[in-house]
């Protein structure tokens, strides 16, 4: 069974009298352990797709099966559970809490699954090690570089051992060198922990590293191909 299956998913925004079709009849299957990159021009619906996959938004039409269960019927707390335990989200702009230190930021998801503070800190520190960021635990996000911040965000995404990491342009704000490091971090997580990774990117070099590339245009999947020369 596929980890994720979208069936005829559409997302339509109503802007006044005008309807914006952000996603149009998307069908997509993702198996466990895959590394997929999603590419497409600005406004094509990549983020919308990621938000639906991440249970941050629900589709206007169609069904979303996660591990064989239709997420469409989920209420708020089951959706929250999905975001908390099974999905890790990484944003382009990091989305860290500026008033919390690095360790607390990474431990944030654990607050919502009833884990005691000692264990939270232990798990957060471990996630930070997995993200190759040590000796920064007591710093605030504002004191870190962009690449370091993104490592914190990745640590937060993996702290609860999710099945899948959804990364929406995680290197968009980083220079090429640091971007490469971040991508290889995802690569390592995918290889070592068998975490499924879905990566939205504008960078064709980055996309080309994935074994599977999904191309989106105007809310539709126009290409979904194996990439045999991909290293991921």
């Amino acid at each position: 069974m596929a980890l994720i299956e979208l069936k005829n998913v559409s997302k339509i925004y109503h802007l006044g009298s005008e309807d914006v079709i952000a996603l149009n009849n998307i069908n997509l299957k993702i198996e466990k352990g895959e590394f997929i990159s999603i590419i497409g021009p600005s406004g094509s619906g990549k983020s919308t797709l990621m938000h639906i996959l991440g249970c941050l938004e629900s589709p206007t039409k169609g069904d979303y099966f996660f591990d064989g269960v239709n997420v469409k019927d989920f209420g708020d707390s089951r959706l929250a559970y999905m975001r908390n335990r099974r999905i890790g989200f990484v944003f382009q702009n990091y989305n860290l809490l500026p008033q919390f230190n690095v360790l607390s930021n990474v431990a944030l998801p654990l607050l919502y699954c009833g884990i005691g503070s000692k264990e939270r800190n232990r798990m957060a520190a471990e996630a930070l090690r997995s993200a190759n960021l040590t000796h920064r635990n007591r710093h605030r996000p504002g004191e870190l570089s962009g690449g370091e911040r993104q490592r914190v965000a990745i640590a937060r995404a993996i702290v609860n051992n999710p099945d899948i990491i959804l990364a929406d342009e995680p290197t968009g704000n980083l220079d090429q060198k640091v971007g490469k490091e971040i991508i290889s971090l995802f690569k390592g997580l995918n290889k070592e922990k068998n975490v499924t990774v879905v990566l939205v990117t504008h960078d064709l070099n980055v996309a080309a590293m994935a074994r599977r590339i999904v191309r989106i245009l105007d809310g539709e999947i126009i290409e979904d191909k194996e990439n045999n020369i991909g290293t991921l």
Binding site: L56, R83, R85, P109, L111, G114
Partner: protein
């Protein structure tokens, strides 16, 4: 998320904007402070008056000249154009009364007293032999005024402790001569110390025979007649009989007022009830204002934290978690105000009590519960709206918020 974590988050958030939090709590501080002070004052007053009236004795009736329709208070002295209370009224009551055992007549005035080279202005009470018994005020040494002293207008005086101290410098006054309102009196007794009552020093009084006082003050009327009923439980029958007899003595006119402890207590209770309403009014207005302040700040906080809310939802917070987080934050602010208000109130009461020892403001245990309950209530009521706004945010919009 555990409750402890919610409070930790709330306190961190409150500390992030110390001044804002402090200013926001002010409304609640003032509200709780005024409730604490007013309730404690009310409780203190209740006790004080209950004490005072119980000292009066539940089986005593006081007959005052002049009629007042509303029960309880003394009539205004200026409307005293009616017939006065006379010695013969007193004798009549004494002779005919069946439901009461003793009658006392009393006349009050002020005057100058002298002993050796010292002098003192103080209260002079003219009364008869029953006074000491009726008011449960025995002499400490010597004797009180006797029936014979009243009858023969003997110039004798009984003095209180303050007089003894100030005028006689504690030398034995018994048998000594002192001047009271120009006349020479022989001191025959010293009253037991009684302390203060309603701000009057009950020991700074000279007692002389009733008849002598009437002459000195050139008065035909008594200030009041006090009747001691046979039993406190049958006080109503005594009131009826005294009314009856007094009417007879005053050719059918009810130109006098009878006060009982019951009347005074009920009057006081009415005052207390009114006061409590006023307290409630003040409290609810200030708590309303304080609550609106909290709601206002919480709306600002929710707006400022839009992004944070989005992040928390994205990593797995349920809407109920967000709701509780902001509700607890508003409760924390409100509770903080409540605690500050309570502490300020306690401080004020302690200072007040040490400055004014005669009137003790009373702290009741439930004032703590009340302040606590009020603060939590305000925090919840005025926190719900902002918290719901936070909980209902769309996470994607929240994450996009700049």
């Amino acid at each position: 998320m555990e409750l402890y974590e919610f409070f930790k988050t709330a306190i961190q958030s409150a500390l992030l904007n110390k001044w804002r939090t402090f200013l926001t709590t002010l409304g609640i501080v003032i509200g709780v402070y005024s409730v604490v002070i007013l309730v404690s004052l009310g409780e203190g007053a209740k006790l004080y008056f209950a004490d005072l009236f119980s000292g009066m004795g539940s089986n005593l009736l006081i007959v005052l000249p002049g009629k007042k329709d509303t029960k309880g208070g003394a009539p205004h002295p200026m409307i005293n154009t009616v017939r006065k209370l006379s010695l013969s009224d007193m004798e009549f009551l004494k002779k005919r009364g069946r439901t009461f055992e003793t009658v006392n007549g009393l006349i009050m005035g002020g005057g100058n007293t002298k002993y050796s080279n010292r002098q003192r202005d103080l209260m002079i009470i003219g009364t008869n032999e029953t006074f000491s018994y009726i008011h449960n005020m025995p002499v400490e040494s010597g004797s009180f005024i006797s029936a014979e002293d009243v009858l023969s207008k003997k110039k004798v005086a009984v003095i209180g402790h303050t007089v003894l101290k100030e005028l006689f410098h504690n030398e034995n006054p018994l048998g000594k001569q002192m001047t009271v309102a120009g006349g020479r009196f022989t001191v025959i007794g010293i009253m037991q110390s009684k302390g203060q009552s309603l701000g009057i020093d009950m020991d700074d009084i000279v007692y002389i025979p009733l008849t002598v006082a009437m002459d000195i003050f050139n008065q035909e009327g008594l200030t009041r007649i006090t009747v001691k009923a046979n039993s406190a439980s049958n006080i109503d029958a005594s009131i009826e009989e005294v009314t009856d007899l007094m009417k007879k003595a005053h050719s059918g006119n009810e130109d006098f007022t009878i006060i009982s402890q019951k009347d005074m207590l009920s009057t006081f209770e009415k005052i207390a009830a009114t006061m409590q309403l006023v307290v409630l009014g003040i409290a609810s207005i200030s708590l309303l204002v304080g609550g609106i302040g909290i709601m206002n700040i919480m709306l600002v906080t929710v707006k400022e934290k839009t992004r944070e809310i989005g992040i928390r939802i994205a990593v797995g917070a349920r809407r109920i978690d967000i709701l509780i987080q902001f509700l607890i934050e508003s409760i924390t602010i409100s509770l903080l105000g409540g605690i500050i208000g309570l502490l300020l109130g306690l401080l004020t009461i302690v200072i007040f009590n040490s400055l004014v020892p005669d009137f003790q403001v009373r702290l009741t245990p439930w004032i703590f519960m009340l302040s606590f309950g009020f603060s939590v209530f305000v925090g919840v009521v005025f926190g719900v709206f902002p918290a719901r706004r936070a909980a209902n945010m769309n996470p994607i919009d929240a994450l996009r918020y700049e």
